[in-house]
Amino acid sequence: MKFFAPEINHPITVRGTEILPDDTPQQYLQKLARITLDEMGQFVGILTADGILLECNRAALESGGLTRDDVIGKPFWETFWWTVTPMMQEEIRKAIYRAALGEHVRYDVEIFVKKSSKETTVMDFTLDPVKDENGQIVFLLLEGRDITEKKAQEREIARQSQELARPGKTKAQPTDIDEFRTSLKSRPKPPEQAERLLAAIVESSDDAIASKDLNGIVTSWNKSAERLLGYSAEEMIGQPITLIIPPELHPDETMILGKIRRGERIDHFETVRVRKNGEKIEVSLTISPVRDKNGIIIGAAKIIRDITESKKIERALRTTEKLAAAGRLAATVAHEINNPLEAVTNLVYLAKRDLSDGKKVGNYLQLASRELDRVSHIARQTLGFYRENSQPTTVNITQILNDLLFLYETRLQARKIKVVKQYDKPMEVTALAGEIRQAFSNLITNAIDAMPAGGTLLVRATESHAWSNSCQPGIRITILDTGSGIKPQHRNHLFQPFFTTKADVGTGLGLWITRTIIVKHHGQIRVKSRSGPQIHGTAFSIFLPLHTDVLKPESEETDTPNAISTGVVNA
């Protein structure tokens, strides 16, 4: 046997193995082998073919706080390391049996390493048969490498993947995925495994998830997408995404791809898509750009959620809300119509009774006709002359204000409301007369309702200019009451449809209608309100331009609050 022996002049002791100057080469080699074993960080040992531990290295003993006497000569499975569970002991016993039959056995196992604290370590464990010159298996070589840290990293990756798969996080936000990928790359884990894991998560998600390239060609299509839209992955991949977009909405796709190219994200875009069977479904789309590892946008990932059901519920709710408003409208109509009708009924009775007295009858009939004017005005107002379809004409604003104050005279008197008119000459604008009358009528009745115990109603009209454009001439009308004022928490909702503080008689449509009308006339409306104990009241100011060219009574969209979103509100 060839060996190199340095000249040894004095004894060398390493962990109890002493090499002496006069050792034989045989002894020297043995001692060197011992030192090699003891200095190894790995767990190394040798068993008989029956699994009796013959020898093991220092690393194995020391880490466990064990001595040779604790383990040597014992069946390996009965040694301290394996006593974590009986199952583990059984497992190593089987492994020894297999190795003894000539098999290379390798597995990861969590064993005890510290007797004192029962600390465990995960080992990548191997057992190899050692054969003699005749090919007989005589020993089993065991090796164990500590892989605790590696295992911890794997668990961390698994945890992050689960997090991604959780419902709240399934929006496939590119940042999350990118971070996740980066974190994977920084670890010794092969990235392909994580990619596979991600793919599995996407595939099993309950949300329909698809991706496409920048030309709108589908590049992936998960199981839920198959279920939701009826196309299989094979049918969709390689096809343009426009396959599921109704033809009239194809321009949307151009918009979406444009945003994606600019790196923008689209959140909860509510639209309509078509299933394979032609059925239309309402969906909410969340679309994010997908970047390659250099940060270049290469496509888009989209989550498609079926919102058909929730839309149905939303519509049902709106209908309910409208019905409730209709109920309140009916209450208002009852209130406004029954009183004049009571008066007319009485007046007709009196006219019949005093038939012979022409003067008296004339007086009754005049009063009755005035009451009938009230009824018809109210009927028109509440039952829909709001949707009047006529051409703009020259409208005398001060005349309208006078008419309205006359109309509400009895109500004003009953509540002891003092009326102050601050206008003298006629002021005219081009407008839809009925609508303008409606707009002011709503403001005046609100003012009256705000002063149940009396107060002052100030109505002012002056020549003015638009608040936003001093070159645009027009008329500014102010309607001010000294009522209780609008509570701060109500001010933001004033112009919303169906918002009312008068639950029994209010429709919640008055101010919304008023604002719709004013905005349609390219006017502006502002409100200021104080609800203090000393100073209280509300003032609505309206600006109407002298001429409005672009009135389109036909195209009015009275159902959409969006159509009025341009009004100025200082509530």
Binding site: A343, N346, L367
Partner: protein
Amino acid sequence: MKIIVVDDEPIIADTLVNILNGEGHDALAVSNGKSAIRWAEIVRPDAVVTDVIMPDMDGIETAKGIIKMLPKCRIILFSGQAASTSLLAKAQAEGCSFEVLAKPINPDILLEKLKSSSEGAFESQPQ
């Protein structure tokens, strides 16, 4: 029969008084609950015809005030508003039940009611 008519709309109160007086009653018009109670104390009416929804004091409060003072006085409520049902329910919970006629009332029916109520067919009962 001495009657007080209460309505915040003067034209209604005035025409009703005119009709009632034409039938030989001795009717008086007032425009709110407080003056109804004040006048009731003075004229001690046999019946009060009152609107329900009025500013300040509503018709039911007015009726309760009058019944307290004049237990035999007949009360006829009339209203044009659905809101009066919630006021009535409230009164009922407090132990006072009243019948309400819907506006507009045919004057002949009102006269009939007054006649029958004086015979005990129509009653207001503080419970």
